[in-house]
Subunit: 221 residues, 2 copies
Amino acid sequence: MREAYRVELDELAAELAGMCSMVATAMELATRSLLDADLGLAEQVIGDDAKVDDARAACEEHAYALLALQAPVATDLRTVLAAIHAAESLERMGDLALHVAKAARRRHPQPVLPDQVASDFREMGRVAVSLAREAEQVILSQDVEQAHSLEQADDEMDDLHRHLFTVIMDKDWPHGVASAVDVTLLGRFYERFADHAVSVAKRVVFVVTGRMPGAGHDEAV
Amino acid sequence: MREAYRVELDELAAELAGMCSMVATAMELATRSLLDADLGLAEQVIGDDAKVDDARAACEEHAYALLALQAPVATDLRTVLAAIHAAESLERMGDLALHVAKAARRRHPQPVLPDQVASDFREMGRVAVSLAREAEQVILSQDVEQAHSLEQADDEMDDLHRHLFTVIMDKDWPHGVASAVDVTLLGRFYERFADHAVSVAKRVVFVVTGRMPGAGHDEAV
């Protein structure tokens, strides 16, 4: 493969890693806006979402240019297509952080979350942000082992998500239906964010090994 | 463009149209299983989901082969990439129909839905199925006008979805929290299904016109 082409692929990977960092920060701030009813942080996440969309468009254009000008085959072709898929997942992760921030804004100055589930969301936020940061590392390192460790972290998210449902569904849930609906949707946003982070990592594994790891599990709890 | 290549593109479009038809049927049966607490239909949808996944993998392999062997540029390149994106959206639509069927199975023989919202879901099911069938037509016809009409139908879905929330959030909702949680998630599945159908149609518009219609609106109600 020509050196110039390798350089362009590395640039594309750097762009994707940058997107991971953006959505990790977005989810971090969105979670804080949710837990602290912080309208300023929520507005910041909402305002910054366009940057994620722009970064996705730039990645996609870069990938298109590579395909059109270099006509890669075999692994190189799959790498570029994996990048296109990863950019799509990362844009979606940005949307999900945006939804969390919008929920915080919608209820402001009321908190969205009853105290009873605040610690669950603090944990889900921590896992979500850490998954996005790990996906960033996987893109840069192409380390298959590290990619597998994301799946374990995603299991942790699934456990948190399931636990959340047992709390909401408990007949003694004292916070009413509207609150349960908010918590249900928010829980789903974190769980989907994690699924997409795993999907990004799996695409990297596919590029490195030529084999796609097991299908994603999006359990609709 | 070579004739053989045109034939292959047409085959790829036919595969995508076939996927539209599969997910339309899946959502139709899933909605009936939900409304009628019909375990047999739910099991059928659950069992058939693997076929959607296989069809997506076949589409993607077909698209990869086209890229590797023909190295298309310009509009032809964008057509193949749009097909890859569309196949991803269609697989996701299949997953969402699967989630509806799983909800019906989980609560069987109890109905999932209180009578109060059954007609909302009947309507959302009708709109969802019709969107998938319209997307099928758009793929085959590449008719930009028809693609725009999908966005109107999606507005109808958004209205139904918003109405559903006013019903659940009403302080006189008599069906309890667990039921509200089920209805919340199910409503989201229909709304996302519709969003993906619109996204498929938009990709077709992009291929035909070279311009992507306005960004999708996934409002996290």
